[in-house]
């Protein structure tokens, strides 16, 4: 329960509206509770007074009271429920602004679906608490007290008998809606399995077809569907008796009134008008009593959801500005140094980088080569602080990168990741992603350098072509070049290319490298590649092996060293050249 106290700060923001809402609830209940009394008077008038005027009077009053209550009912929704949407909005804003700060580690370890579930389901169930639950509990509570008071003053005995089933009803609803909630969650889970399976199977359709396992996919899918159906039926089983029993218990109350009350009327202890008021009041009470059970559940769910959200919101922002940040730094020129850097992905994982020390002078180009999984990408990720080092330090212009404001650090780095991610937006907006203004000449320039302009004919609407699901699919090479153009467009001081030409043919690659040589004249660049032809011109080449720097030097020096690099070079030479060599 105390989880929900965290919502207080949100409630406080809207306290005026909420206060009004509560006031409206009270006023509206006043009107509603008045109606059965009018009904009683008019029926009593039919058994004793026989006055047409009284009838008309009461009838008009009923409409008047209903109108009065109605106006406030309207206002209740327009305040309380609107506030719940406001708070939902605020919660989501806070959620997202936190998510944006979380490190790459978080996103690699949590699936998109999981994060989405929190953003939608959990926030949704907290909103149910903030709005409907708050509204109904105040509404119900006040109504219950007033009505029971009126009933008691009419006939204590009859009140006792007729209210007898209601606590059971409340308890029953409470118990069942808890079960319903659990089963509902299971259905949701299965449904998301179903969606995931379909998504995965359809997007991997090439592999499915190539390896001829359509049948297995259909079988898997059938199994999940069957499971989903069973989960649904488990829910149906409850629902099927939930409603009938609700009506049964509620109906019994009324029958008790008719029977016991009828006897009292015969005995002359009660009037027929009182009985009818009783029945109408019971009708009014049944919903609140049901609501009690229901609300208790909403509160429980909301508190569970809030707990999960809190876990999320407390997820540490590992990488951020802190007291060591020196805000006077607002630019740098690009001298990078690694001092004895080590890194592991988490406590019980092995070291991925171990004692890395290297210097990269501004304006120079360095290359990193190394085997699959040797730690190249990991090393590059440390520079813009996608991860923080586990040991040692990285400096730029002599400042520890942890002291450079994060946005200053990242703004001047052009990063082309090994796996390209583009937004499903126009090509142009993808290229200009790092800039804040639309700038056609920038697009042209960046596309020119990255040789994306060669492919312009393939894009139906030029740079305005939309990419992704709703647009065209780029080839691997085109994606890589778009990602390169995006990095170039920010006018970086440091350009980082992580195996960015793996899907680009050598011809085009050569042209890009030629352009880059010019562009990178006084910028620092770091290139990772498996192709000797890509790295051979670098000022320094580092060979990474199992997280350690094994060799370093220029192409010629490393060849002369006759180590890993020379071997690599040798292997990439063609056989006839090898013959010539010997």
């Amino acid at each position: 329960m105390h989880e929900l106290k965290k919502l207080n700060k949100y409630f406080l923001r809207y306290k005026r509206k909420l206060f009004l809402g509560i006031l409206f609830i009270l006023l509206s209940n006043l009107g509603q509770v008045y109606i059965p009394l009018l009904l009683k008077d008019s029926i009593d008038n039919l058994t004793s007074g026989f006055s047409y005027d009284v009838l008309l009077d009461k009838a008009l009053f009923i409409v008047g009271a209903a109108f009065f209550a109605g106006i406030f009912r309207y206002l209740i929704r327009m305040t309380v429920i609107v506030v719940s949407r406001d708070i939902e909005y605020d919660l989501r804003q806070d959620f997202w602004s936190h998510i944006q700060k979380l490190p790459l580690r978080f996103f690699q370890n949590n699936s998109v679906g999981n994060i989405m579930a929190h953003a939608t389901n959990d926030i949704g169930s907290v909103r149910m608490f903030v709005g409907p639950a708050v509204m109904y509990s105040i509404d119900t509570g006040t109504k219950l007290i007033v009505i029971i008071a009126i009933l008691l003053s009419t006939s204590a005995e009859l009140t006792f008998y007729s209210l007898l089933p209601l606590p059971f009803l409340s308890y029953f609803v409470y118990r069942l809606s808890k079960k319903i909630h659990i089963r509902f969650m299971r259905i949701q889970e299965k449904f998301s399995d179903l969606t995931t399976k379909a998504q995965e199977s359809f997007s991997g359709i090439r592999v499915v077809k190539a390896y001829v396992f359509e049948d297995r996919e259909i079988e898997d899918f059938s199994e999940i569907s069957r499971d989903y159906m069973e989960k649904n039926m488990a829910m149906v089983k409850i629902q099927a008796y939930f409603q009938p029993i609700l009506f049964l218990i509620a109906g019994l109350s009324i029958i008790i009134v008719i029977w016991a009350g009828g006897n009292k009327v015969i005995a002359g202890e009660l009037s027929l008008g009182e009985i009818s008021a009783f029945i109408v009041y019971l009708g009014m009470l049944i919903w609140p009593v049901i609501a009690f059970g229901w609300i208790t559940n909403i509160i429980q769910q909301a508190s569970a959801s809030m707990k999960r959200l809190t876990v999320f919101l407390n997820e540490p922002v590992e990488i951020k500005n802190n007291e060591l940040t020196s805000y006077v730094i607002n630019d740098y020129s690009g001298d990078i140094e690694f001092r004895n850097v080590s890194f592991r992905y988490s406590e019980n994982f092995p070291l991925v980088l171990d004692g890395i020390s290297l210097k990269i002078k501004r304006g120079s180009t360095v290359a990193i080569v190394g085997g699959t999984g040797s730690g190249k990408t990991t090393l590059l990720n440390l520079i813009p602080r996608l991860y923080d080092v586990s040991g040692g330090e990285i400096t730029i212009d002599g400042n520890n990168i942890r002291h450079i404001p994060l946005d200053v650090l990242r703004r001047r780095i052009g990063f082309v990741s090994q796996e390209t991610f583009l937004f499903s937006d126009t090509l142009k907006r993808n290229i200009l992603y790092g800039l804040d203004k639309d700038n056609d000449s920038e697009v042209d320039k960046a596309a020119e350098i990255s040789k994306l302009n060669n492919d312009l004919d393939n894009f139906p609407k030029g740079y305005e072509t939309i990419l992704g699901e709703r647009g065209i699919t780029l080839s691997g090479g085109q994606k890589q070049r778009t990602s390169l153009a995006r990095a170039i467009a920010v006018n970086p001081r440091i350009l980082i290319l992580d195996d960015s030409f793996s899907a680009v043919d050598t011809n085009t690659e050569e042209a890009i490298l030629r352009n880059l040589r010019e562009f990178m004249k006084d910028r620092t660049s770091i290139i990772v590649s498996h192709r000797i032809s890509t790295v051979k011109d670098a000022d320094t080449i580092f060979v990474l092996d199992n997280g350690r720097i094994k060799e370093q030097g220029t192409h010629e020096e490393l060849i002369a060293l006759k180590g890993y690099y020379a071997d690599l070079h040798y292997k990439q030479l063609l056989e006839d050249e090898l013959k010539e060599l010997s």
Binding site: I35, V212, F213, T506
Partner: protein, 594 residues
Amino acid sequence: MEQKDDEVLGKAYDSQIMKRLLGYVKPYKRYVVLAIMLNVLVAALGPLRPYLTKLAIDDYIAKADHNGLLVISLLLAGSLVFQAVMQYFLTYYTQLMGQKIIYDLRIKIFSHIQKLALRFFDKTPIGRLVTRTTNDVESLNELFSSGIITVFSDIFIIVWIFIFMFTMAWDLSLVTLSVLPVLFYATFLFRRKVRESYRDVRYHLARLNSYMQEHIGGMSIVQLFSKEKREMGNFSSINNAHKNANINSIFYYAVFFPVVELLSSIAIALIIWYGGGEVIQGTLTLGVLFAFIQYTEMFFRPVRDLSEKYNVMQTAMASAERIFKLLDNESFIKNPLNPKPLPVVNGEIEFRDVWFAYKDDEYVLKNVSFKIEPGQTVAIVGATGAGKTSIINLLTRFYDISRGQILVDGTNIAEVDKRELRRHIAIVLQDVVLFSGTVKSNIGLNSSEISEEQIIKAAETVGAAKFITALPNGYNQEVKEKGATLSVGQKQLISFARALAYNPQILILDEATSSIDTDTEILIQKAIEKLLEGRTSIVIAHRLSTIQNADKILVMHKGEIRESGTHTELLAQKGIYYRLYQLQYKDQEITRSA
């Protein structure tokens, strides 16, 4: 604007679609008839009770008959219990039927999509196909399980109420029911408005979700480019639009519910005023008045329900239409009627004057002819977009050719069962696809024919065993979404191992080693040579060192094979291949001379 597309609602009833839908109900026809009959019966029980109340008041309370009152109270209780029991069975069985129909339909859709040709996938967003198999089917569920049958029940409840009311007092009935047109109109208006605003809410919700989905996936780009502020702005405006859409819909609820309550109070006021007058005149009994007050409460619900059912029907029709459109799409790669058997393959491949276009007659492959002898290794080189992947797409019959012939072991592949053909071929695709599951299941693809030893053997052959065994759970390690915690090269190795575990007669590598270091690559090559000795392979790669040992190299340029021969032959030709070679190696002259 896909979401809006999917939201287009048409008629609530379309006889042709309905007929087709009922086709799925056919196996359960008896249930339906039974359910409807029970419904008609049960519908009478609710309206019966106010009538019994009237009897209680007029015949027993007024006449001070204690025993009669007890009997009628028991009758009331009995009808209540009976109704509850019937209701239980009705709900259970109609839902069961609905679920079964949905299950059948869902599998049918999924299987259908699995069979569709790649050409179809090229132009259909995956998200839309997922929606068909999930949400669209779900909205039919409502139609089958509650829609069709409760419509009957609601109608009969109203009919029964009318019957009881009119037999008791027709004039009071008319007076009371005079609010009905207003109720109908209000409900109709409300439904329409709510539907519109609900559609708006759904649209904005979809936008919010797809924004979040996309940006959670691309968060590192947002962060790398320090665009958190701008993205926060974008998010806020979408979030805000979503909030406003919701608040708009609150308005309609806020108006509608009080209006309904007001109408029901007006009806009661009318009963008291008009009916009360008649009671005073002695033309009406108190019991009738009493029953009428209960009936007004009672008929508001089915009216509201019915209008809701209208929405259910409308959504269901729209979904059904989309589903049937998909099921009617027969763009399959057709198997021949009497496929020639292809039990074993030696691996001879021949392309004869093959022409191919993805779109109309923008030919991507022009007059391509080549022959690969069994056991040969053939390399294909060329710039991106030259048509290398397309050749492979044709060989596995992912697409059908426009002109020419493709022969495997002298048999035209159009004449054999495409699945049998694919059983002999393993491809390592350009884009790595990892499925959720373990490393093991990603290599063996859960095939019963691939043993654990074969999986391990395959992983060892491609040099993946080393990093796999270093994982905390080894081969049983869960693969995070899209293999997020593996290096790119490692992912490629897994998909490579998958091809070897398949033990194919023909192996195709489409830039399969682009992110793998040369060392590992050479190791793999040697291991494969041993493992797949005598089998045919096709290799596409940009690194010339990868392909130099091929028995034959095909040089593609703009959809044509421009050169072919061995490495030495091609160099001697001084053509495209020679230029490519120079690009990759010219600067290495220095080292050579050094």
